[in-house]
Subunit: 142 residues, 2 copies
DNA sequence: CGACCGCTTGACGTTAACGTCAACGTAAAG
DNA sequence: CTTTACGTTGACGTTAACGTCAAGCGGTCG
């Protein structure tokens, strides 16, 4: 075994010289999903790990994407929409027209996220007033 | 036609004396969903409109619930989870034990919503730095 | 009175996001 | 060299959230 490994039950970095890689099982376990889920994301083109022969090899880039995907899911975005934002993040931005398109897309996403933020603020505010009423009622019962 | 109606293409309040009611078509149109969707929510027990004979009659209470449902959907909550929060809002709160249960539930929901808010803040922050980089690149192209 | 409109119920279809199962390859371990 | 563990490709199953007919009922308009 080579290389300084921080260990601790985590997935272990392979390829002593290069950057660390992970197997599908390690990735799945670490992100709290099944290997089927990971494969599903690949089928949809959300991630595209390298192959050593037929075996999938995951790198940092894939982990970054998985984080984006799972956050998107927590936020309730459909995977297709998650794809558009991932594609946005590594779309070609060489030409001015492409950059302007990116900026436009970003504005769209911003608007969407801010709508959700408002919804969340509203929901939290309602919960708070409801909780206050509950506490009042509880106090009055004593 | 009786009663002060603000009109304007909106659904019109019926039942001159009592409180306003709406048909399923009006409700659906106003909330931007299909009547099938409204019926689906009823099948899941999320709303339970009155009946005049066989026809559904929607009141303010149903509209409140529909607002909760649709906001829950925008936030990506499954309808079953939406139901739990709706049920929470009009659950019995006469006894202290019930009020304490409510407060506990509220804390759960709060935690969930705050996680989502963090996710959204993160996503917005990333979008912002990405947008800044895009604008930089764009400036440098001139 | 017939036609039409809106409402209702039932039942089957569809899409997204996986779950699950079978069958196979391969590489290290006994 | 066989067993065992992990990985891979299909392919079909499942659940949620509706969509989409089909068929029937009840008022009202001409």
């Amino acid at each position: 075994m080579v290389g300084a490994v921080t260990s601790g039950g985590d997935a272990i970095a392979r390829a002593s010289g290069g950057d660390p890689t992970w197997t599908i099982a390690e990735i799945a376990a670490e992100f709290g999903v099944t290997h089927r889920t990971v494969r599903h994301y690949e089928e949809l083109g959300l991630i595209s790990p390298e192959r050593r022969g037929t075996t999938r090899i995951y790198r940092r880039r894939d982990r970054t994407r998985l984080n984006l995907i799972l956050r998107g899911k927590r936020l309730g975005f459909p995977l297709e929409q998650v794809r558009t934002i991932i594609d946005l993040y590594d779309s070609p931005r060489g030409k001015a027209s492409q950059l302007e398109y990116c900026l436009a897309q970003i504005d769209d996403r911003r608007a969407d996220l801010e709508q959700r933020r408002r919804d969340i603020e509203d929901a939290l505010a309602e919960l708070d007033t409801f909780a206050a009423r509950c506490r009042d009622d509880l106090d009055r019962l004593r």
